[in-house]
C-alpha cells in the first residue's frame, strides 16, 4: 500500500541522443508523441504549453515552466501532471549514449509536495521524508 512520490521509466531507443533530444524539445516532434499540441520556449525559465484540442476529452491548456535545457543530456520542466490536479510535479528526461542508441530515463516527481500556496522553505525541507515514512506505515499495516 505504498504511495510512491515519483514515476520512473527507462527505455532504450535505437537512435542517437541528438535525435531523441529533437523529439523531446522540438514542438512539432513533441506534439507528435505527447498527445497534445505543444509549444515550447526552449530555455530555463521558458514556457512549455500543451494544448488539448478536445478530441480526446475536454479541451484546454496546461502551462509548464522549463527547469533545465542541457542538450543532449537533460531536459526538465515543472507542470501540473494532469488537469485535474493542483500539484506541480517535475518531469525530467535524462539521455545517455548507449551501445544500441540512447538510454532515456524519465522521472516525474513531487506528487506529495505541498501546493504552491502553502509552500515555504521550512515546510519544503520537511516534506522530503514522507515517502519513506509512509512506506513504513504501509509496512506496518501490511503485517497487521
Amino acid at each position: 500500500m505504498e504511495v510512491p512520490d515519483s514515476i520512473e521509466r527507462e527505455l532504450i531507443l535505437p537512435v542517437p541522443p541528438a535525435r531523441v533530444w529533437a523529439a523531446l524539445t522540438r514542438p512539432d516532434q513533441l506534439s507528435a508523441w505527447f498527445g497534445t499540441r505543444a509549444t515550447i520556449d526552449l530555455r530555463p525559465g521558458g514556457e512549455v504549453v500543451f494544448t488539448w484540442d478536445g478530441s480526446t476529452g475536454p479541451s484546454g491548456t496546461n502551462h509548464g515552466v522549463i527547469e533545465a535545457v542541457e542538450p543532449p543530456n537533460r531536459f526538465a520542466f515543472r507542470w501540473q501532471s494532469s488537469r485535474d490536479t493542483a500539484q506541480m510535479t517535475l518531469v525530467e528526461f535524462t539521455l545517455q549514449p548507449h551501445p544500441e542508441g540512447t538510454r532515456l530515463r524519465l522521472v516525474e516527481s513531487g506528487f506529495a509536495s505541498l501546493p504552491p500556496e502553502l509552500r515555504d522553505g521550512c515546510h519544503e525541507s520537511n516534506t522530503r521524508g514522507w515517502q519513506r515514512e509512509l512506506g513504513e506505515l504501509a509496512q506496518y499495516l501490511a503485517v497487521r
Partner: protein, 111 residues
C-alpha cells in the same frame, strides 16, 4: 478519463506532524486527541487541527463515544492515491511508446 486527483491526501501527507498523527492512529487503532497528546510534543489543540485535516482528506474518521471523539484510520484514500499515480504512470507508458515510434519514423537529419 482520469479520476479526480487525491490532492487532499497529498496535501495532508505533506506535513510531518500530520504523518506522525496518522501513524499513531494507524498503530493504536481508534484513539482520541487526548490520548495522542500523551505521545506527541504538541498541544491537544494542534493535534485536533491535524485530525481535522486528515479527516477532510478522508484518511481518518471520527466517532463520538461519550465525551470524546475517537479517530480511526481509513485506508482507501491511500490506496486511491497509489492508483492515481499508477494511472499517471500508464499515461507516460503510452506517450513513451509513441515517442519510440516518432524517433523510428524520423528520417535521419543530414547536415
Amino acid at each position: 478519463m482520469m479520476r479526480e486527483a487525491p490532492d487532499a491526501v497529498f496535501t495532508a501527507l505533506a506535513d510531518p506532524t500530520r504523518r506522525r498523527v496518522l501513524r499513531l492512529v494507524a498503530e493504536r487503532g481508534p484513539t482520541s486527541a487526548t490520548l495522542l497528546e500523551r505521545e506527541m510534543p504538541v498541544t491537544r489543540q494542534a493535534i485536533v487541527k491535524h485530525l481535522v485535516v486528515l479527516s477532510r482528506a478522508g484518511l481518518v474518521t471520527g466517532q463520538r463515544t461519550g465525551q470524546e471523539v475517537r479517530y480511526g484510520l481509513v485506508r482507501e484514500p491511500l490506496d486511491e492515491a497509489s492508483e492515481w499515480i499508477a494511472e499517471v504512470g500508464s499515461r507516460w507508458d503510452e506517450r513513451l511508446a509513441r515517442l519510440r515510434q516518432v524517433v523510428l519514423d524520423q528520417k535521419p537529419e543530414r547536415s
